[in-house]
């Protein structure tokens, strides 16, 4: 269905190929997962399949890409619209109309279809993706998961043979992500659509995939094959694959189900060992709220009567579905939002009563889109500006940045950094003020496994040094790795507050893969298992 014929792509002014030596065929009706580290060319590969590269991005594509027999060299993306449907990372940016129904019809209108056909297909798609009750709703009022399903639906109504999705679940909570992936799975099985999908959080999708394309990085050809084979040799792999490697299983499992069947031996070996260490208890209380109620103008309360403490030296994770009030809580704790009732105290002070410059020396927040904090044109000037802002000796911010992510060139434009590097830069800027509490909103969004490991190490180190860390996230694997304590927010109330191990083991939605494989024993990460196991003979 999609034929990459010796394809290489090099963007203008780039020193190396973004993609090279891609020579493979994705057959009809396959769900093919594209994996690789940040910057390995995943988006370029997906773009090449829809004609977006090079028609829209510029650059030079050598070789040929054939989609359903059409050469993207001769067909522009708009002329491929009846064959390829595209869904981007941020659905909101791609919406052309205001309402769900109109958005679903847009592609068909462009293709000039008959009205009765359009109406029938809109109805079918509404049912297929469970959007029927939302048909008249303005797109802006939908939750992120609903918006993503509308975006998929609007690509589907034209009945494309191929669906290309670039990280479709990166902004979604685990539940909404499962909804979207289940919908995709159905499409592949019911309609025989070919799906090309990229994703960082492999643990979410790999069990659905028929094949995997693993991009190794600039200059190296990709590997293509069945998931177990390709991921077994890849540095980018979900926890079950790492566990399988550790235990020496063959073939390597890619789903929890496969792994559990192979894990009988491992489970019996581990059950004789000491249970993993419990989470660290926090030190002294740094931040305390009482009766916190927050409401936006005219709306109902977003947070309701919340009592919460954060302790020095503890990493807490804040979880809950999209729209549960996680971000609102972080902004209120920082002091940027004033609560309707109740108080936030850091020591004896209320952050919202301080001016912004003093506030950040008590509580620092890294917002969901860290780019919002950057406005200068090089990394070097951003670091110097940060030193002045925080009244620190020269190069302190730079030193912090090097600690998190070494080797970022001073002259780079912050916009050209990878997600992980940009997060490190913002983290360094915020930490230069030496806050007692660090809040992070969705820090792992768009990060690959290596960047996540680095972030986890940095956060653990910070908490050892006595900072209280609170991160809002949907990433259960990351929580299992880094957090000592998990808070779950639902409908504006704190429904759970407990040690990570207790919370994640008690619910399948929040359980990491290793815990599912090794249940009922309480292991959370591959690293824990590796530490506990005696060195294999």
């Amino acid at each position: 269905m999609i034929r990459f014929d010796h394809v290489s792509v090099r963007y203008a002014d780039a020193a190396a190929d973004a993609l090279s030596g891609v020579d493979l065929t994705v057959p009809d009706g396959e769900l093919c997962l594209v994996v690789g580290r940040t910057g390995s060319g995943k988006s370029t590969l997906l773009g090449a399949a829809s004609g977006h590269v090079p028609h829209f991005t510029g650059g030079r594509l050598s070789g040929r890409v054939l989609v359903d027999g059409r050469d993207t060299r001769e067909f522009r993306p708009r002329e491929l619209a009846d064959v390829v449907g595209v869904v981007g990372q941020s659905p909101v940016d791609g919406f052309v109309t205001d309402s769900v129904e109109d958005e679903l019809a847009f592609t068909m209108e462009s293709l000039g279809m008959q009205r009765p056909v359009m109406r029938r297909r809109v109805e079918e798609t509404l049912d297929l993706l469970g959007l029927a009750e939302l048909r008249d709703r303005p797109l802006a009022q939908l939750s992120a998961g609903q918006q993503q399903r509308v975006a998929i639906g609007s690509a589907l109504t034209a009945h494309p043979r191929v669906l290309v999705l670039d990280e479709p679940t990166s902004a979604l909570d685990p539940g909404a992500a499962e909804d979207v992936l289940a919908a995709l799975h159905r499409l592949v099985h019911d309609l025989g659509i070919t799906v090309l999908l990229s994703e960082h959080r492999l643990e979410r999708v790999v069990q659905y995939a028929d094949s995997v394309i693993s991009l190794a990085g600039p200059g190296q050809p990709p590997r293509y094959g069945v998931p177990g084979d390709v991921l077994g040799a890849s540095e980018v792999a979900p926890p079950v694959v790492h566990l399988g490697r550790l235990a020496g299983w063959s073939p390597l499992p890619v789903s929890v189900r496969d792994a559990r069947r192979q894990a009988v031996d491992l489970r019996s070996r581990l059950s004789t060992l000491a249970a993993p260490a419990t989470s660290r208890a926090g030190g002294s209380v740094v931040l305390r709220t009482s009766g916190l109620t927050v409401r936006y103008r005219g709306g109902p309360p977003v947070l309701h009567d919340l009592d919460l403490t954060l302790a020095a030296g503890q990493v807490s994770a804040l979880m809950g579905r999209n729209g549960a009030g996680k971000s609102t809580l972080l902004w209120t704790l920082q002091g940027a939002l004033k609560p309707l009732r109740g108080t936030v105290h850091v020591g004896t002070e209320e952050p919202s009563a301080l001016d912004p410059a003093d506030r950040r020396t008590r509580v620092a927040l890294v917002p969901q889109d860290p780019t919002d904090l950057l406005y200068l044109d090089t990394v070097g000037t951003e670091c110097r500006q940060s030193d002045t802002e925080s009244q620190r000796p020269a190069r302190e911010t730079r030193a912090l940045l090097d600690r998190f992510t070494p080797g970022v060139d001073d002259d780079t434009d912050p916009r050209d950094l990878s997600e992980g590097q940009r997060l490190s830069l913002v983290l360094a800027i915020q930490l230069a003020a030496r806050p007692r509490v660090l809040l992070l909103d969705e820090p792992t969004r768009g990060l690959d496994y290596l960047a996540k490991d680095r972030l986890a190490a940095a956060l653990t180190q910070l908490s050892r040094d006595g900072t209280a860390v609170l991160l809002a996230t949907h990433d259960v694997e990351f929580v299992a790795t880094v957090a000592d304590r998990v808070l779950v927010l639902a409908g504006g109330e704190m429904i759970t507050d407990g040690a990570t191990r207790d919370v994640v083991l008690s619910s399948p939605t929040y359980a990491p893969q290793v815990a599912k494989v090794l249940a009922p024993d309480a292991w959370l990460t591959v690293a824990e298992v590796a530490r506990a196991l005696p060195v294999p003979a």
Binding site: G94, D98, S110, L111, Q141, D179, P356, L373, G492
Partner: protein, 380 residues
């Protein structure tokens, strides 16, 4: 078919054009204020709940600004005609070559009244536009455009909807900037907020363009250069005719017979141009907008107001244009008041039979348990 018994989007525009025509035919402040009151009432009663409908207040403020500017200009530069001097400002003597221009001096009640009337009329016209924009969803108006103009129209509509997004991202960046300790004021704040906001707007525009491209926007059959030139020529001629005709009919009816014929020629040329241009368009429409009796009634009520004021301005000049020199107390007459009250009808007529009050149906979502509805997340 129109969605949920909504009105044809052109209905509100015709109604507002009627009101604007009425406003352009009088300087009587009582009538003008009555027009504003009618517009305000109908907007308050029939405004849709979506975001773009919140702009009416801005148009009212803009109207006030117009009146204020017109009055201030009169006080500074205005002629000193009229006996009833209210205040005497210090007058600046200008050199001889600037004779005829006056700065300061006496301010008379007559002059002030005439300036106020004039400003009020301009403000009313602006508020008419505001009412139409508020009541009719811009994107739905797009669907009534002929095929040849669709793509141009879409670009305009997308550009219009970028403005609230810009405001939103400016607020977001400002909030984020406070996290770095910035106060959010002063010249540096403008740069530090403006840069990322512009970058964001650009990124958004590029990804929107990419998404539209991927969804087949702009697919078109092949068209010869000759046809394209013919379309452009016809449209240009049509627009010229339309503007000339509109000027002739509305602004200078006493200038004789130029108005109507050129309006007619303009309309014909436009129709021909659009017909030629639409032949190359592949697009189809998911929803056709149909004229229903309620839409017709809304449009007609605006037209009635216009006709009543046109008649008044011809046969009852004292009411339509109350004298300011000598200064008279403006009077009301039965005909124009009746006409304007008829234009109030849409407040009831436009109510949809299927959803008795559009805003009552919006309310549940506004008082739901969560700020962002998360139905999609409510699975097991």
């Amino acid at each position: 078919m129109n969605r949920h018994g909504e009105l044809h989007p052109l209905a509100w525009w015709l109604w507002a054009i009627g009101m604007a025509t009425a406003a352009s035919r009088t300087t009587n402040p009582l009538l003008l204020l009555l027009i504003i009151a009618v517009l305000g009432y109908v907007v308050a009663a029939r405004r849709p709940a979506q975001g773009w409908a919140r702009g009416f207040r801005a148009y009212l403020i803009l109207g006030l600004v117009v009146v204020a500017i017109r009055t201030v200009f009169h006080i500074i530069f205005g002629g000193g005609l009229g006996e009833t001097v209210l205040v005497r400002l210090p007058e600046l003597r200008l050199p001889e070559w600037a004779a005829g221009i006056r700065l300061g001096g006496a301010v008379s009640a007559e002059g002030l009244a005439s300036a106020l009337y004039d400003g009020l009329r301009l403000a009313t016209l602006l508020i008419c536009v505001g009412a139409a924009v508020t009541l009719a969803e811009p994107r739905r108006l797009l669907r009534t455009l002929p095929g040849a103009l669709y793509e141009l129209g879409l670009v305009v509509v997308v550009a219009i909807s970028l403005a609230p997004q810009l405001v939103e991202s400016a607020l977001r960046v400002r909030r984020a900037r406070a996290l770095r300790g910035a106060s959010g004021r002063g010249l540096r704040a403008v740069r530090s907020i403006g840069m990322p906001v512009l970058a964001m707007a650009l990124d958004r525009a590029v990804s929107l363009a990419a998404a539209m491209d991927a969804r087949g926007y702009g697919r078109s059959g092949s068209v010869s250069a000759g046809t394209r030139r013919l379309t452009a020529g016809l449209l240009l001629m049509g627009l010229l005719g339309l503007s000339l005709g509109a000027y002739g009919v509305l602004a200078a009816p006493e200038q004789g017979s130029v108005g109507l014929p050129s309006l007619l020629v303009g309309v014909l040329a436009c129709v021909a141009g659009l017909a030629v241009g639409s032949r190359r368009v592949l697009r189809s429409r998911y929803r056709a907008e149909r004229v229903d009796p309620r839409s017709a009634a809304v449009a007609a009520s605006g037209m009635v107001a216009a006709v009543c004021l046109l008649v008044t301005s011809r046969y009852d000049v004292a009411t339509a244009y109350p004298s300011t020199y000598p200064l008279d107390v403006p009077q009301l007459a039965l005909l124009p008041v009746l006409g304007l009250l008829i234009a109030l009808a849409p407040a009831w007529v436009a109510r949809s039979p299927t959803s008795p009050d559009s805003r009552a149906t919006e309310r549940p979502s506004a008082t739901g348990a969560e700020p962002t509805p998360a139905v999609g997340a409510g699975r097991s």
